[in-house]
Symmetry: C2
Subunit: 531 residues, 2 copies
Amino acid sequence: MAILNHGDTTAASGTSPAAAAVNVAPPMHSLVQPVLDADEFRRQGRLVVDFIADYYTRIDEYPVRPAVAPGFLARQLPEAAPARPEPGGDALAAALRDVRDLILPGVTHWQSPRHFAHFATTGSNVGALGEALAAGLNINPFTWAASPAATELEVVVTDWLGKALHLPERLLFSGGGGGTLLGTSCEAMLCTLVAARDRKLAEIGEERMGDLVVYCSDQTHFSFRKAARIAGIRRGNCREIPTSRESGFALQPRTLLAAVRADEAAGRVPMFLCATVGTTPTAAVDPLRELCAAVAGRGVWVHVDAAYAGAACVCPEFRGATAGAEAVDSFSTNPHKWLLANMDCCALWVRRPEALTAALGTDHDVILKDPSSERGGGVVDYKDWQVALSRRFRALKLWLVLRCHGVEGLRGLVRADARFEVPVPRQFALVCFRLRAAAAAAVGEKRGRDRDNDAEPNELNRRLLEAVNATGRAYMSSAVVGGIYVLRCAIGNSLTEERHVREAWRVVQEQATAVLAAAACTEERAVRSAR
Amino acid sequence: MAILNHGDTTAASGTSPAAAAVNVAPPMHSLVQPVLDADEFRRQGRLVVDFIADYYTRIDEYPVRPAVAPGFLARQLPEAAPARPEPGGDALAAALRDVRDLILPGVTHWQSPRHFAHFATTGSNVGALGEALAAGLNINPFTWAASPAATELEVVVTDWLGKALHLPERLLFSGGGGGTLLGTSCEAMLCTLVAARDRKLAEIGEERMGDLVVYCSDQTHFSFRKAARIAGIRRGNCREIPTSRESGFALQPRTLLAAVRADEAAGRVPMFLCATVGTTPTAAVDPLRELCAAVAGRGVWVHVDAAYAGAACVCPEFRGATAGAEAVDSFSTNPHKWLLANMDCCALWVRRPEALTAALGTDHDVILKDPSSERGGGVVDYKDWQVALSRRFRALKLWLVLRCHGVEGLRGLVRADARFEVPVPRQFALVCFRLRAAAAAAVGEKRGRDRDNDAEPNELNRRLLEAVNATGRAYMSSAVVGGIYVLRCAIGNSLTEERHVREAWRVVQEQATAVLAAAACTEERAVRSAR
């Protein structure tokens, strides 16, 4: 029975694929070397597990930021990939030696207990192994049918996490909303921006695209402005509302409302507000309830970027940070930042999933259509919640983390970080500090500079950060807020202990002494040479 | 020495963070249970490695597509995350038992040798372990400084891969272009679309956004239309140029040019062409050289989506598929599809990286600014090449794959797949087939249907696919091309042997018999009841 339809090009030999496969090369898994092989995986897997464990054992010995110059690695590697695995039979072991000898000395060690830059990416045994397990299963759950259990686990685990963070019920599947796991907060911003944009354009017409305006504060992560540009919002239509030190760099509802009204008066269309819980520069918290109230009734989509600080909401004492979240349209946080889920993992919840799928859905595609999706009835096809079609099984590691540590375990983790108190307005586990203006001015005065000029202390603090980081004993980052350059010490790595914070502080003190002395010395030389 | 600047809120106690940390909870890594611990990682890592190896051993025993109903998993899991890890001391082992008993029976087994749907995601030992290793290191190389070796390895390995695929030199760093590793082809499309859009708008003015037109064929992956929508291209300005069976469903340069000219005549602005090497429905190949020539001199960005078939270019005999790529602006392929790199890994090369970074760059951000980037001079900051800020260390697994298999090993892999010849116009390792129109018509005739009506055979083939997939012994997908519904059998999983293809064919034959018999029976009943 020849049921193959050859179209208009029917060949004489109506054989089957199987018949045609006869008399050809051996099966691919026996070519060259095993590609996917259980026994070999067991052996190679142990090599890699031991390699990672050895790395954790030694991680504190590495300079946290490597002292390498651009091009250092490229120079040590051949110009083309090898034609064949190197002889000797164990290519992986040889490659791991190169990882140890060539690559590790050149990476910045994000899991180092001395890494206080940016925000931590808290790793955990279970997070790393959850990622490994997902890589081993190697499935692509873009629709429910493409892997039912993976999709359903994501539905379950985003609800679990939402409940653990005390999010409003309406953002969870159990309350008519729903969550998904993306790679980063930037993706969450882009997806919700596009959903809001298309909802608004459906109302006012596509030709008014150029009138849409989005709002954030001058403290909002730059990813938002980038996402707005990607979504085609005019460069001039992204309002960065100024904040001030007086209000702790939080977005003020009154200032926001004034900007919204000005845009409306000019015929433009307010469309989206990105509020932040835990800004990147100083972990400031925008007042959600008041901001939502300010734009209520205007059809403005309110998204909350809680990339870093959302995790803190596992602790009841931090719940105030998300007070008023009942009124927001979407909320995202990164379990890879402070909830042990290893890179990458961003949880996004939306109040109306249909707004997301209306903008990002691709139901017309027959290749992916399957009876379960057509039947509807509660089946989630996550491809319609994100930019990409393909996706990893991220729910697995988050589920493992929640299972193996429990919500109480995560509370302990957050509280352990948050105990690092300092006598400055500190938010969560981010400490911002700088050399006093007075100390810098003592240097600047000799040159007769204006004491109010911030340039000099900013420059000194910039030098201080570079000096601290050059020691390799601590790695911090910086921010400029209200024109003031601050060093950012973000505490939160899984391996960080009290002694690492103490030592980091010693490093800061030593380097501050050196930087101030060097500056004074330069001044004296300048004074001498001017004589 | 108190160098902390307390701003205007200087507290009485000028103590350091370290001093403040005294008298508080024990270090976080000793809380509840080890979070990141080398010895425990060694033990837990072995559990996971053995779990994956056991899975590979048993994978052939699972129905490839599970017979589960929506909601099956959610019903079996608690409504909230556990407060504490379950007692007994080994939460991970308990969780792995649940993965085995609850989750694996409900996943679609993408690594099964019986998975012929969509395109394969070829997994390998080294690909999975490379992903595991990256998860263990858990670094975030968004700038060169944020992890120099990770960035440099990505520069090296994208050049290596480009050379292995015989890509034009001008797309590689060594030729003035450059590559990056993203998650998916959808991201590659979106990033290049935004780069092309902003380049064009800089020329003609932002207010002409609504005039921009993008081009693809009716065979182009739906991700392109989605990416264009995300980028703010008007829904009506995405031209899907029709293709036909006569030209093998390839995009015809003449038809494209006619569409471009029509848009120009109407005052619109042609901006982007997405050509495909290996379309999703039938693996058709668009003629790059002729398409580039057709739009030459018009400032149209030509992107090549070679998500699946790009890998075939490791074999010199398949190089024809990318002939003319010298003239394209960008090219992407997914090493996670056919080059053993496990989910997710998309390589994107661009001829002018500055066009990408002009659109996606965020140089103004002081937090990420560091002296190496400011110095310029060959430092790549990959955050400016993609949507997101954060990113995984994907270069590591691709480097391991290239190291451990070698380019010859990958050639062997591609040839092993491509040997599955069938007597239809087959491209690469994708076989499209269907029940003959005649067989369907034999059923339809009794009802007096028009023999030229395609609906009846399409419906029968749809039933055939559902019947094949319901057996759990093979999993295929479908496409509609030129109004004709075809079953797609994509051969390429690492574990697939000849016997799996033979058996899949037996399953198709059995189910075709059953579907035709059932249809005939229904007809007879209809005829009888009409009497």
